[in-house]
Structure formats: structure tokens, C-alpha cells
């Protein structure tokens, strides 16, 4: 680098630039948190939904699936599974319940998690709530 560009100038860009953008990021974070009620479907978060989220986490579902596009890419997207399954929480529950214990020969299969009726209901309601989040029309189509 040219001598006219000194280390002092580089240091000032580092300190000034980082500080400015760090503060800007905090400002945007505050604004986002304030605006979230418009998009995050929080009115749908019941006790059952909150319990369902804990079932989702406890079984590490995100280790295979994506949810709103985040997670692993081994199994289908679930942010819109409620729509994909004909807006039926019963269909979601039936699918999870019916997974064979020893899998399907040569193919990917979801494990049998032996969930209780309460856990199944919670999980299905949680996925229904996730389905209602405003994601700027993502995913592009029903296949997720």
C-alpha cells in the first residue's frame, strides 16, 4: 500500500467504521424487534404451541429438516407443511406416528419418536403457527 495511506488512517477506519456500523446494527435490531408483531404471528402462540416448540427442540428436528429455510437439508421444509398437508394438523400427526421403527430399506425415513398424544398435538400446532408467519411469500411454492 502507498505511503500516503498511513497506519493511523487504517486504524481510524477500523475503529470508526466498526463502531458506526455496530451502533447502526443495534439500532436496526431495536427497530426490528419493535416491528415484529406485524409479521411474526405472535397472537397464535398459545401454551400448546410453546410446548410444541419444546418438542421440536427436544427431538432435534432441525437436524434433518429446514424450518423457514434454516436447518439441515436432508428432509423436507416444514415452515409450510401445514399448507402442504391440506391444512390438517391431524395429517401431520398421523405422518409422524406412522414412521416405521426400523426405517425403510435403502431409503431415508424419519425415526419413530414415540411421541405422546400431547406432544404430537403440540408439535402439529407449533407447525401450524410457523405456517402463519409472514415470510415475504417464501417458500416459492407448496413443495417448500
Amino acid at each position: 500500500m502507498k505511503e500516503t495511506f498511513t497506519k493511523g488512517m487504517a486504524r481510524n477506519i477500523y475503529y470508526g467504521g466498526s463502531l458506526f456500523f455496530f451502533l447502526a446494527f443495534i439500532g436496526l435490531t431495536v427497530d426490528t424487534v419493535n416491528k415484529l408483531p406485524k409479521t411474526d404471528n405472535r397472537e397464535a402462540i398459545t401454551e400448546v404451541v410453546a410446548f410444541g416448540k419444546s418438542v421440536w427442540e427436544k427431538n432435534n428436528c432441525v437436524g434433518c429438516h429446514t424450518l423457514l429455510g434454516e436447518g439441515a437439508y436432508f428432509a423436507p421444509e416444514l415452515g409450510n407443511v401445514y399448507t402442504r398437508f391440506g391444512e390438517s394438523t391431524e395429517a401431520i400427526k398421523a405422518f409422524i406416528k406412522s414412521r416405521p421403527v426400523n426405517g425403510i430399506k435403502g431409503r431415508r425415513s424419519m425415526p419413530q419418536f414415540n411421541l405422546t398424544e400431547e406432544e404430537l398435538e403440540g408439535l402439529a400446532q407449533f407447525l401450524k403457527y410457523a405456517n402463519g408467519i409472514d415470510t415475504h411469500n417464501w417458500p416459492p411454492n407448496i413443495q417448500g
Binding site: S18, L36, K58, G63, Y73, P111, Q112, I133
Partner: protein, 459 residues
Amino acid sequence: MKLKYESQSVAKLYFMAAIGLFVGQIIFGVILGLQYVWGDFLFPAIPFNIARMVHTNLLIVWLLFGFMGAAYYLVPEESQRELYSVKLAKILFWIFLIAGAAIVASYLLIPYARLAELTGNKYFPTMGREFLEQPTIGKIGIVIVALGFLFNVGMTILSGRKTVINMILLTGLAGLAIFFLFAFYVPDNLVLDKFFWWFVVHLWVEGVWELILASLLAFVLIKVTGVDRELIEKWLYIIVAMALISGLIGTGHHFFYIGTPGYWLWLGSIFSALEPIPFFMLTLFAFNVVNKRRRDHPNKAATLWALGTAVMSFLGAGVWGFLHTLAPVNYYTHGTQITAAHGHMAFYGAYVMVVLTIISYAMPIMRGRKANPMRAQVVEMWSFWLMTVGMVFITLFLTAAGILQVYLQRLTDTPLPFIVVQEKIAVFYWLREAAGLVFLIGLIIYIISFFVKGEEIEG
């Protein structure tokens, strides 16, 4: 050749643990790659989600071992004093190793839901989120180790010579510890949960870790090229400045489709489009400095790793990141194999390679010589090329799989279901698995290189 400061040698423990866990990570990578095409491989004993957790958690833990080892090696030399406490460094090493091994073993031995029950997850739930799957007690352990480590390194730096390198390294390490605290915030609101989850994940890998990366690379480049510190520090400042200027608001490229306000579509696209700049500068910097070298250091392998880090981090993080970072593109690629392709090359190019760079430079010195015998270096350089070419092909095959996936599942007039698409693109998963095996062979050769004897190099 002797170490400048005796306490630096504590780094050796950390580096050995890092390499050991790296092997475990890659074995599980090969298992996962196989499960992609042979769906019931090891099922139901080790389902995909468990193997993946082992793969990613081992990566994080061994990189942390690498960063800590690097800091213990570099900080005394930069600060021109012995480490504040070697004893503390050793105690923390064993705590971290035992805790890390216990966490990974528990994933494999106990069903995850049972592990959550046993560790009282319901009282303080933090489990079950990508990369942050560790039981809460494990997370608390990580924080304790991180704080003890920061204290040790911080005390050394603050009472010694403060260079740009060790100050930027310390900032990066402190940021690493601070942002990890968001791992303890798990609200019921999924959008809030996801939003702050990125405060750990993005602000680590596209934020503070870049400070660690740049400072480690700068240190090795000073040592192997003998180029004037003033010049190197100027580059270092400007690279990390650009990393933070682009990367902080660049977090927005994760806030496109998770229920966050629409302005992130613009902010995330614009700022993350700038994120390749610091990586490009890193490449210019490394080649520039090596060309201006004032000495021919006998450790050719370390120089190769340093240049490799600069190039591969630019390709993996910079180019492959840019590929899908603009909101209209990401609308179709979000959560596909394109993301996986980028993740693999970026982690390898930036963080795996920089740790291997410093190991390559420091390990011979800790073993009492300036550089390894030429025969050992040649073997190490073979491992460099096998692992790097292996990773390039893993990335290319995943990218091909991803493009087809995006087309068949999201772009055509008749989109196909996820699992149908997966079967159609299976050939690319087979090819990826082959490239993964090349990577594994490279890693085995890497380990062999530590045991190759030969004529001692003068130094």
C-alpha cells in the same frame, strides 16, 4: 531452534486435540454423505440428525481448540512475556476436552430427547437449535472455559507489549465469548428465536472470527516472510475494518424470509454483497507480502497453507457466499444444497485452513526445529492438495445438486416434491461422497506427515 517463551509450548496440547477431533469430524462427514444416498445406513442406531450434530459440533469444538492453541502460541511472542498462567491453560484444556468428548459421546449413546431430560433442559431450555445443540450444562461449561481462557490471554497481553495483532486477536476472542451468550436466549416466539440465533452464528463466522482469522494469518506471514510489521498491520486494520463494516449489517442476508421486516431484503443484499471485499483483500495481502518476502523461511508448507487460506476463504466465503446472497436469488436458493456447498468451502477455506496454517508453522518449532524435514513437508503439502482439491469438488458437486434442486423443486412450472427431487439428483451426492473420501485420504496423509523423518533443516 528453541521457543522464544517456554509457555508457548502449551499450544501443543491444544493442537493435538484439535487434530484428533478433526479426524472424528471427517469420519462423520463421510457417514453423512453416505446417508444422503443410502438412506438407512446405520439407521436407526445413528440417524442423520445425530450424525450431523456430531459432525458440526466436533468442527466447532476443534476449531475452538485450534484458536485457543493459536492464541497461547502467538500471544506470549507478540506480548514479549511468558503466558500469565500455564497451569490455568492446562486445567482449562482438560476441562474442555473432557466436556467436549462427553457432549459428543452423549449424542451417540443416549437418545437426544432423553439427554434433554437428563440434563434438565426443561428448566433452562437451550437445546435443539442448529449448532447449539449442546445440553445447557455443556454450554455453561463452554462459557467458563472461554472466560478462563480470555482472562489468561488478556492478562498476558495487557501486561505485555500490545501489538495490532494481539489486540485484534483479543477483540475477536472476546467477541466470540460475548456473542455466544445469545445461545442462552430461546424465546417461544420462533421469529425472535431465529433472529437472535444469528447473533451467535453469523456474528461468529462472518464477524468476530474474521478478526481471529486475519490476525493469525498476519502473525504467520510476518514470521515466514520477514516483511515489515508496519505494512502488515496496516493491511490487518483495513481488512478487519472491511469485515465488520460489511459483515455486521450483512447479517441481514439471513433476515430475508424468516418473518422479519422487508427492509432487510435491501440492507442484507447490499451489505452482504460487500462481504467478499475483505476476503479479496486478504488474498491480495497474502500474495503481496509473500512476494515482498525478505527471507526464505525453510517452512514451505506453512507458507502454502497461508496462501491457501487466503485463496480458499475468498472462494468459499466470498464467491460462494455472494452466489446466493442477493435476496431475489436467495428466494430460490434459501435452505438448499447451495447453502450446504457454501458452508463447506467457507468453513474449510477460512477457519480450518487458518488453524492448519498456524499448526504448520508452530508445531515444528514446538518440536525443537525451525521447520520439518523436507520429506515431511512434501507429505504435508500432498495432504494440503488432497484436502483442498477434495473440498473444491465437494463444493462443486453440491452446487450442481443445488442448482438442480432449485430448478426441479422451485423454478419449473411443475415443481416436484422434495424427496422426489433428492432421488433425481442422487448422482451428485455419490460424486460428493467420492470427493469426501479424497478429503479423508488427505487428512490421513496429513497425520502421517507428523511422523515422517528426514534430514534436519538448518535454521
